[in-house]
Structures are given as C-alpha cells and as structure tokens.
C-alpha cells in the first residue's frame, strides 16, 4: 500500500515557465513533508519542507503548498531553469509518532530549452 504517491512519472516544462510537481498521501498521521531532488548517480538532496501547521513555504524559486483536507502537496519551481532537470521525490513523516520517513516514486522533470 503506497502511502505517498507521485502519479506523474515525468513532466516536461519550457525553460522560464513554472514547473508544478504533485504529491498525494493517504496517511492522515503524516504531519511533515519534504521534497528531494536527485541527479543521476548521486544521492537525493534535500530541497524544501513544510510542516502541517502551514499551508505554504517558500525558498527562492521553490514553493511548497500543502492542502491537508485533500491530502495533497505540490512543489512549484519558477522560473524553471535547465539545472532543475532531475528526479523529484516527495516524502512524508509523522512527527507526532516519530515514525520513519516514506518516499514517493518520484517525478522526472525535463526542462526544455
């Protein structure tokens, strides 16, 4: 049973436009969410996170939105740049249970010139 779902395996976006990556979760105990970026032959690197007490967190070109009622979060990248081409993983944890972090399957983002 997949608790964190990234339903789009890949996404192509024109350079300079907005990239929107989506993630859904099923476990209502999750209260902390993270996005990671992964280049080939490297480990994932942390990008941005959000606690369930917020509905938005922004860091430069990256913004994460959380809709708790829909159990949905999204990562917005604007403007998209060539170096943003990578696989993006959504992850979730239940801080109140100090439980393990669960990852989605990832979305491969291609930034087109």
């Amino acid at each position: 049973d997949q608790q964190v779902k990234q339903n789009s395996p890949s996404l192509s976006v024109q350079e300079g436009r907005i990239s929107i990556l989506n993630c859904d979760y099923t476990n209502s105990m999750f209260d902390y969410f993270l996005w990671y970026k992964k280049y080939p032959a490297e480990g994932p690197t942390f990008l941005i996170s959000i606690s369930s007490i917020k509905d938005k967190n922004e860091d430069g070109r990256f913004t994460v939105f959380l809709n708790k009622s829909a159990k949905h979060l999204s990562l917005h990248i604007v403007p998209s740049q060539p170096g943003d081409s990578a696989v993006y993983f959504c992850a979730a944890a239940a801080m109140n249970r100090d439980d393990k972090i669960i990852f989605g399957k990832g979305t491969r983002l291609h930034i087109l010139p």
Binding site: Q6, Y32, L34, G43, P44, S49, F89, D98
Partner: protein, 113 residues
C-alpha cells in the same frame, strides 16, 4: 565537513554470493536509513536505525537481508545468497533524531549476474 559516504560505489556479484554494503553517516547523526532504488522505481524503504532503539526492519524484503549499526555510527547492509532481483542502487541516509532532513550518500550500485 564530510558527508555520508558509502562503499563500494559499485559491486558486481554472482547470484548466490553474499554481499556487504557499508555506510558511514555524518558524525553525530543519530538516525540512519537504508533505501534501495531499482531501475525505474522510487526509493524503497528497507530499514531505519534511531539511536539505541530497536531498528525498524519492516521494509526488508526477505530474511536474506539484514543490517546492523555498530557503535551508533557505521552501518552494514548484508544480502545473503543474492538474487538477480536484488540488483539496484542501495542508498544510505543519516540525520539527527528529531529532524527530518536526510543527508544521503551517493549509493552503491549492486549488480547480480
């Protein structure tokens, strides 16, 4: 400072042989995860060590897989009687207990022939 390191970076082994994969976490990090990423798949949770607590082994796919963490630092993932379906990139991540931003190593690519 030094990040998470993993060794070997690549391992080719014959079906039926045992392999050991090593992870050196960031000094002071009290929690450590093992994941694997099979071709075209996401990050599959394997095992989670947190401080002195009993590890969460719920992700280990079979009893051929085991892991230990000695002295709360270095961890070794052992796969006995390897099978071709064990071929994957095995990733280790560490973090401070109570935080959720994981620091990943570069991974070990295991190929079982």
């Amino acid at each position: 400072g030094a990040g998470v390191s993993q060794s070997p970076s690549n391992k080719v082994t014959e079906k039926g042989k045992d392999v050991e994969l090593r992870c050196d976490p960031i000094s002071g990090h009290t929690a450590l995860y093992w994941y694997r990423q099979s071709l075209g798949q996401g990050l599959e949770f394997l095992i989670y060590f947190q401080g002195n607590s009993a590890p969460d082994k719920s992700g280990l796919p079979s009893d051929r897989f085991s892991a230990e963490r000695t002295g709360g630092s270095v961890s070794t993932l052992t796969i006995q009687r390897t099978q071709q379906e064990d071929s994957a990139v095995y990733l280790c991540a560490s973090l401070f207990t109570g935080t959720y931003e994981q620091y990943f190593g570069p991974g070990t690519r295991l190929t079982v022939t």
